[in-house]
C-alpha cells in the first residue's frame, strides 16, 4: 500500500471537500436508519394500540431525501476536483522525468495504457472510499441500537456486519490483486493477437493464413475468458456468502423480537431493531464488489506511480541561464542507454553557429542518442558537451530546450487545429509569423486551400492529412520556434524522394543564423553541408564533402 503514498498526497490537498462528502454520506445513512427505525416503531405502536405521533418519521423522510441530494452533489464535486488534480499531477511528473526519454523510444501504446490506468483511479473515492467510510461510521450506530435490546445481539450483529463490510471486501481485494497480473497477461495476449491479425492482414491474405490467425486469436480470447470466468465464479461465491450472512443477521434480529435475546414484551423495540438491522445490512451487501474493484485499482495506481518516478540517469537540473553563443562542441563523449553497451565512444565534434552538418549512419548506430544528448534528455557517461562554451550539465533544462529545437520521427501531431499544433501553447506569434513558417516548410499552399485555413482540424495524430503534410506541419512548428539550433531527425520519413528533396532544398534557403544538424540514414544529394559525419560502431568520423 506504501506505493500509493504519492496519490494520497494529491488527495490531501482536497481533504476538506472529500471529508464534507463523507460526512454528508454518513448523515444521509443515519437519516435512513432513523426513517426505517421510526417506520418499525410506529407500526408496532399502532398495532398494539398505542398513541402515535408521526413528526420524527416525517422529518426523517425529508432529511433522507435532502441529505441524499446534497451528498451526491458534494461527492461528485469533490470527485471532479480530484480527477483533474490527479491528471495534472500525472502530467507534470511525467513531463519532468520520463517524458523526454519516451520520445526516443516507441511508447504510444504504453502511454495509452497508462491513461486508462489514470482513468480507473476515478472510482476510488465514489465507489470505494465513500461506501467503506459510511460502513465504518454506521457500525457503532447499529451496535448502539442493538444494545438497547441485548449485548449478545449487538455482538453477533456487529460480527456479521464486520464480516460483510470489511472482511469479505478485504479478502476480495486481496484475491483480485493477486489475480491482476494473470488477467492482464491474458488480456495482453489477446490484444497482441488482435494487433497481429489486423496489422498483418496483407501478409495473412497473401500467404493464405487468415483462418489460422483467426484461430490463434480466438484461442487467446478463450484463454482470457477462462481466467475471467474463474474470477467471476469466485466473485459470485463471495457475493452469495455475503447475502447469506446478511440473512443470518436478519434472522438473529427476528429471534430478538421473539424473545431469544431480550424479554418478548419489548416487541416494538424488537421491530425497530429489526428494521434498522435490515437497512444497515442491505447497505453493505455490495461492498465485496468494491473490494474487487480495489484490487484492480491498486495495480493501476502502482503502474501510474511507477511511471512518474524519474528514471535513473536523468540529467540533473542546471542553474545557469542559456549562454549567448550557440557553438556546440562535444569532447570525448561516451554514452550508452545501458552503461555496459555504449552506443557512442569517445566522440568529438564541433558545430559553429550557423553551420550545417549531416550525421549519417545505419539505424541503431546511435544517431538519435546524440540528439538525446544535445537536448539534455540524457547525460554523457564520460566527456562533456558545451553550448556557447558552457557545459550543458550546468544550463537550465527548459532554457536549453528553448535554444535547441527538435524534429523527430516521432513528433506528435495533436488532435487540434493547425494553429494550435504550430503554437503548442506558446504565445505572441502573429499570423504572419505562422504563415512564414508554413511557407518555409512548403505547406502554406495546402493550408491556404483548406476552407478553415489555419483553424482546420487535423484529426487524431494528423489523420485528416497525409503523412507528408503532417511531417511538414511538424517542421513548420520547429521553424516557428526562435531556437538557433535545429536538430532534424530523419525529416524525410514518410515522404517520397521528390518531396524529400524539395523539403531538404528549403533548408538550404533558411538564413544562416540557424545551426542545423540533419540526422539521416542517407543523403539525397541536394543538401548543402559544412560537415558530413558518419557514425559507425560508436565512432564518429568526419568525411570529405
Amino acid at each position: 500500500m506504501r506505493q500509493l503514498q504519492p496519490l494520497w498526497n494529491v488527495w490531501k490537498a482536497r481533504g476538506g471537500r472529500l471529508l464534507i462528502g463523507l460526512v454528508l454520506a454518513e448523515l444521509s445513512v443515519c437519516a435512513a436508519f432513523l426513517l426505517m427505525g421510526q417506520t418499525g416503531s410506529r407500526l408496532g405502536l399502532i398495532a398494539i394500540g398505542g398513541v402515535v405521533a408521526f413528526g420524527i418519521l416525517r422529518f426523517a423522510g425529508a432529511a433522507r431525501i435532502i441529505l441524499r441530494y446534497l451528498e451526491r452533489l458534494a461527492t461528485h464535486d469533490a470527485t471532479f476536483r480530484v480527477l483533474a488534480d490527479i491528471r495534472l499531477w500525472f502530467y507534470r511528473n511525467l513531463a519532468k522525468g520520463a517524458a523526454a526519454g519516451l520520445g526516443f523510444r516507441r511508447s504510444g501504446d504504453l502511454l495509452s495504457r497508462l491513461v486508462a490506468d489514470v482513468q480507473s483511479l476515478d472510482s476510488l473515492y465514489l465507489r470505494i472510499l465513500v461506501p467503506l467510510a459510511t460502513a465504518l461510521f454506521s457500525l457503532p450506530i447499529v451496535i448502539w441500537v442493538c444494545l438497547k435490546g441485548s449485548l449478545l445481539l449487538a455482538l453477533s450483529i456487529g460480527v456479521i456486519f464486520c464480516l460483510v463490510a470489511f472482511a469479505l471486501p478485504a479478502l476480495m481485494a486481496k484475491l483480485s490483486y493477486r489475480w491482476g497480473p494473470e488477467l492482464q497477461q491474458a488480456q495482453a495476449d489477446m490484444n497482441n493477437q488482435a494487433l497481429d491479425l489486423v496489422g498483418g492482414m496483407r501478409e495473412l491474405r497473401i500467404f493464405g493464413q487468415e483462418d489460422a490467425a483467426a484461430e490463434r486469436f480466438l484461442a487467446a480470447e478463450e484463454a482470457f475468458y477462462t481466467v475471467q470466468r474463474r474470477q467471476g465464479q469466485a466473485m459470485a461465491h463471495i457475493h452469495a456468502i455475503s447475502l447469506l450472512l446478511t440473512r443470518l443477521g436478519i434472522i438473529l434480529a427476528l429471534a430478538g423480537c421473539a424473545g431469544v435475546f431480550f424479554p418478548e414484551e419489548q416487541a416494538v423495540m424488537g421491530i425497530t431493531i429489526l428494521f434498522v438491522v435490515m437497512t444497515a445490512l442491505d447497505s453493505i451487501v455490495d461492498l465485496p464488489r468494491a473490494g474487487l474493484l480495489f484490487g484492480r485499482i491498486r495495480h493501476a495506481a502502482e503502474r501510474v506511480v511507477d511511471a512518474t518516478v524519474m528514471p535513473e540517469g536523468t540529467p540533473a537540473e542546471g542553474t545557469a541561464p542559456a549562454p549567448a553563443g550557440h557553438e556546440i562542441e562535444g569532447r570525448d563523449v561516451t554514452f550508452g542507454w545501458t552503461p555496459e553497451k555504449p552506443v557512442l565512444q569517445n566522440v568529438n565534434f564541433r558545430l559553429r553557429a550557423g553551420e550545417r552538418a549531416a550525421l549519417v549512419g545505419p539505424s541503431g548506430a546511435g544517431k538519435s542518442s546524440l540528439a538525446a544528448l544535445l537536448l539534455k534528455v540524457v547525460a554523457p557517461q564520460e566527456g562533456s558537451i558545451t553550448l556557447g562554451g558552457q557545459d550543458m550539465a550546468s544550463i537550465q533544462t527548459e532554457a536549453l530546450r528553448e535554444q535547441v529545437a527538435w524534429l523527430s520521427q516521432a513528433s506528435h501531431l495533436f488532435d487540434d487545429t493547425i494553429r494550435s499544433n504550430l503554437l503548442l501553447g506558446r504565445e505572441g506569434f502573429s499570423d504572419k509569423a505562422l504563415w512564414a513558417a508554413l511557407e518555409q516548410a512548403q505547406i502554406a499552399d495546402f493550408v491556404r486551400s483548406l476552407p478553415a485555413g489555419l483553424d482546420s482540424w487535423i484529426g487524431e495524430n494528423g489523420s485528416h492529412i497525409s503523412g507528408g503534410q503532417g511531417r511538414r506541419i511538424a517542421l513548420a512548428r520547429v521553424l516557428l520556434s526562435e531556437a538557433p539550433v535545429l536538430i532534424l531527425d530523419e525529416p524525410g520519413t514518410g515522404l517520397d524522394l521528390e518531396t524529400e528533396r524539395a523539403f531538404l532544398a528549403t533548408l538550404n534557403q533558411l538564413d544562416r543564423s540557424r545551426t542545423i544538424l540533419l540526422i539521416t540514414h542517407r543523403l539525397t544529394g541536394v543538401e548543402q553541408l559544412d560537415h558530413l559525419w558518419t557514425l559507425h560502431e560508436g565512432r564518429l568520423k568526419s568525411q570529405p564533402l
Binding site: 407500526l43 398495532a47 495534472l88 502530467y91 491479425l197 486469436f217 421473539a258 541503431g364 506528435h412
Partner: protein, 585 residues
C-alpha cells in the same frame, strides 16, 4: 462515475420523439435492435429468474410480516411454520441470485464472442483494403476493448430493462390485492416515476448528453497530450500546456456541476417517490389498526411497508446499469463507422481455368483498369494498361500519390477494378477468389509484419508444409543465415511484441525468405528498401536478385539503386495514369 451516468437516465423513448433522427442514427438503432434480438433467449432467461426472485421476495416478506404480526398480537411465540418459510425463501433468493450472476457472466461472454466472430468475418471479407480506410490499431481496439466494454450491456442492462416494468407492477398488484389502500398509494408513487423522469429528465438528459460529450473530449485531449508529451516537453512548453489542461478541466467541472444540480433532482425524485410511499402508507394505515387490529390486518400492513423497497429495486437496478447502456451506443457507432467495402466473393468452383505458369514465371496483362477510393475524389487509377511477359522484371516509379500502391493492391486482389480487366497467366482475376489469386503471387512490402512467435514460425507460415530442406534453402537465399548466429535461440528466437527486436534489414530478410518459401510465379514489391540505409539496401538487393530468377516481377521503388537489377520494363505513373512505358532490350 456510476452515479453520474445513472442520473442522466431518463426515458429513452421520450428522447426518441424529441430529437430528430438522422439516417446513421437509424442504422445504429437497427444494429442495436439486432444485437438485442440475438441475445433475447439469454435475456429472457435472466429476466425470468429475476422474476422468480421477485416472487420469492414476496413470499419472504409475507412470512416476515406474518411472524411480526403474530409477535405484536401478543402471542409471544415465534410461528415456526412462517420462520421455516422465511429461512427457506432467504436461501432460495441467495441461490437465485447466484444462478443469475452465473447466467449474466456467461451471457455477456457469449454475446462478446458472437460479436467478435461477426467482426472477424467482416474484416476478412473486406480484406486488407480495410487498412487503407482505418488505422490497424483502431481496428484492433474495436476487436478487443470496444467489444470487451459491452459486457455490462448484455449482462446487466438488457435483463434489467426487460424486467423492471413487469417486476415493479406485479409487486404493486400483489400489495393491492392484500391491502387496497396501500396498493393504491404504492401504485400512485410508482406512476409518478415516469412523470418525474419526464419533467426533470428530458432537459437534463439533453444537457448531460452534451456534458458527457465534453467529458469525453477532455479524456481524449488528455490521452492525446500524454501520447505527445515528449513533443511538448522537448519544445519547452510543458508547464504552459499543463496550466491549459488544468483550466479546461476546471471549466468542465463547473459546467458539469451546473447540469448535475438539475440532474440529481431526477434521482432525488426516485427517493421522493419511495419515501413518500413508505411514510404515507404508515400514516394512512393507522386508521385501519387503531385500537388493535386483527393479526391479518397487521400482516397486510407490514407486508405493504416491507414491499416498498422491493417495488423500487428493479428501477434502481436499471439506473445502476445505465452506464452500460451508453457503451453500446459508442461501440455501435465505431462499428458503423467501418467502411462498407464490396465483399470479395469466396473461392469459386474447382473446374475453373488454372492460371498457367511457365518455367520463367507467369504472364500478366493489365487492360484499361480504373479505380476510385472515395466518391467525388479524382480517380486513383485512370485507364492503366500494360503487359508483362513471363520472366519480365518491371520497375514502377512515380511520386507518392500517383497510384502505385493502388495498382499493387489491385494486382494482389485486395480491390477489384471498376473498369478494365487483369489477366494472370491467361485467366481473368475476376473469375478467381481472393485465395486463388494470392496463390500465384508473393509480395514484399515496405516493412514486413513480424508476428508474435518464433523466427521459424514467422518464416514457415508462408508455406506450412515446407520441408526442413526447403526452409534451409530459403534461409540461405535470403541471407538470414548471416545473422542467425547473433540471435539468442537461433531459429527458435521469439520475435514480435515483447520478443527480440530485429533491425529493418533483418526483418526485410524474413519477408524475402517467406517469398522464397512460397515460390509463387509473380512477385510484387512495394518499395522494399524504403526504410533501409544504403549499405543494407545493397545487401538486400543481392538477395532480391536471386529471388527474381524464374519469376515475373513488378517492383515499385524510389531508390536509384534498383536500376540495373535486371529490369526489362520501366513504368512511370503520375496522378493515376501510366505516363511512360519503356521496354528494354
Amino acid at each position: 462515475m456510476e452515479n453520474f451516468y445513472s442520473v442522466c437516465f431518463s426515458f429513452p423513448r421520450f428522447l426518441c420523439i424529441c430529437l430528430p433522427m438522422k439516417a446513421d442514427k437509424k442504422m445504429l438503432k437497427g444494429w442495436v435492435r439486432q444485437q438485442n434480438g440475438a441475445n433475447r433467449p439469454a435475456t429472457m432467461c435472466m429476466a425470468l429468474i429475476g422474476m422468480c426472485n421477485v416472487l420469492a421476495g414476496m413470499v419472504l416478506v409475507w412470512s416476515l410480516a406474518s411472524i411480526l404480526a403474530g409477535l405484536l398480537a401478543g402471542g409471544g411465540r415465534l410461528d415456526a411454520r412462517w420462520l421455516g418459510i422465511f429461512i427457506l425463501m432467504s436461501v432460495v433468493r441467495v441461490i437465485l441470485g447466484y444462478v443469475q450472476e452465473h447466467l449474466a457472466v456467461s451471457s455477456g461472454e457469449l454475446a462478446r464472442k458472437r460479436l467478435r466472430r461477426e467482426l472477424l468475418s467482416r474484416f476478412f471479407a473486406q480484406g486488407p483494403a480495410l487498412l487503407r480506410h482505418q488505422h490497424s490499431a483502431a481496428l484492433a481496439s474495436l476487436l478487443t476493448d470496444r467489444i470487451e466494454a459491452l459486457e455490462g450491456y448484455f449482462a446487466r442492462w438488457l435483463p434489467a430493462s426487460a424486467l423492471w416494468v413487469v417486476a415493479q407492477w406485479s409487486v404493486v398488484l400483489v400489495v393491492f390485492w392484500q391491502n387496497h389502500r396501500a396498493g393504491l398509494i404504492l401504485g400512485g408513487c410508482c406512476l409518478s416515476l415516469p412523470f418525474f423522469q419526464a419533467v426533470f429528465g428530458i432537459a437534463t438528459a439533453i444537457a448531460s448528453r452534451r456534458q458527457l460529450l465534453a467529458l469525453n473530449r477532455l479524456q481524449v485531449r488528455f490521452l492525446d497530450r500524454i501520447r505527445g508529451i515528449a513533443t511538448i516537453v522537448l519544445s519547452g512548453n510543458a508547464e504552459k500546456d499543463a496550466q491549459g489542461l488544468g483550466q479546461a478541466a476546471d471549466e468542465l467541472r463547473q459546467r458539469t456541476m451546473k447540469v448535475l444540480r438539475l440532474a440529481f433532482l431526477t434521482s432525488a425524485s426516485t427517493d421522493v417517490a419511495m419515501i413518500v410511499a413508505l411514510v404515507w402508507i404508515v400514516i394512512d394505515q393507522r386508521h385501519g389498526l387503531m385500537h388493535g387490529g386483527s393479526v391479518a390486518q397487521t400482516t397486510s400492513i407490514l407486508f405493504a411497508v416491507l414491499m416498498v423497497p422491493e417495488a423500487f429495486a428493479p428501477f434502481r437496478a436499471l439506473s445502476a446499469a445505465y452506464q452500460d447502456r451508453a457503451q453500446i451506443t459508442s461501440s455501435g457507432e465505431a462499428i458503423q463507422k467501418l467502411p462498407t467495402l464490396p465483399e470479395m466473393a469466396a473461392g469459386t468452383s474447382a473446374d475453373q481455368p488454372r492460371a498457367e505458369r511457365t518455367a520463367r514465371g507467369i504472364e500478366l496483362d493489365v487492360q484499361g483498369v480504373s479505380y476510385q477510393w472515395v466518391k467525388d475524389r479524382p480517380l486513383a487509377l485512370d485507364d492503366v494498361s500494360f503487359q508483362l511477359k513471363a520472366g519480365d522484371v518491371a520497375l514502377l516509379t512515380g511520386p507518392s500519390g500517383a497510384g502505385k500502391s493502388t495498382l499493387i493492391e489491385m494486382l494482389l486482389g485486395f480491390i477489384r477494378p471498376l473498369e478494365g480487366s487483369i489477366r494472370l497467366g491467361g485467366v481473368d482475376l475476376q473469375a478467381l477468389g481472393p485465395a486463388e489469386i494470392t496463390q500465384q503471387i508473393s509480395w514484399i512490402g515496405q516493412k514486413p509484419v513480424i508476428f508474435a512467435g518464433t523466427l521459424r514460425e514467422n518464416i514457415m507460415f508462408a508455406a506450412p508444409e515446407a520441408s526442413e530442406k526447403q526452409l534451409q534453402a530459403a534461409l540461405e537465399a535470403s541471407s538470414i543465415t548471416g545473422y542467425l548466429p547473433l540471435l539468442p535461440d537461433g531459429l527458435e528466437t521469439r520475435l514480435g511484441e515483447g520478443g527480440f527486436g530485429l533491425s529493418g534489414g533483418q526483418a526485410q530478410r524474413i519477408a524475402i525468405a517467406r517469398a522464397f518459401l512460397k515460390d509463387a510465379p509473380l512477385l510484387i514489391m512495394d518499395e522494399p528498401t524504403a526504410h533501409l540505409d544504403p549499405m543494407t539496401e545493397q545487401d538486400i538487393l543481392m538477395s532480391l536478385r536471386g529471388l527474381l530468377k524464374g519469376r515475373t516481377a513488378l517492383i515499385s521503388t524510389h531508390s536509384p539503386q534498383f536500376h540495373n537489377i535486371g529490369e526489362t520494363v520501366r513504368l512511370t505513373m503520375e496522378t493515376g495514369r501510366l505516363t511512360e512505358q519503356e521496354t528494354l532490350a
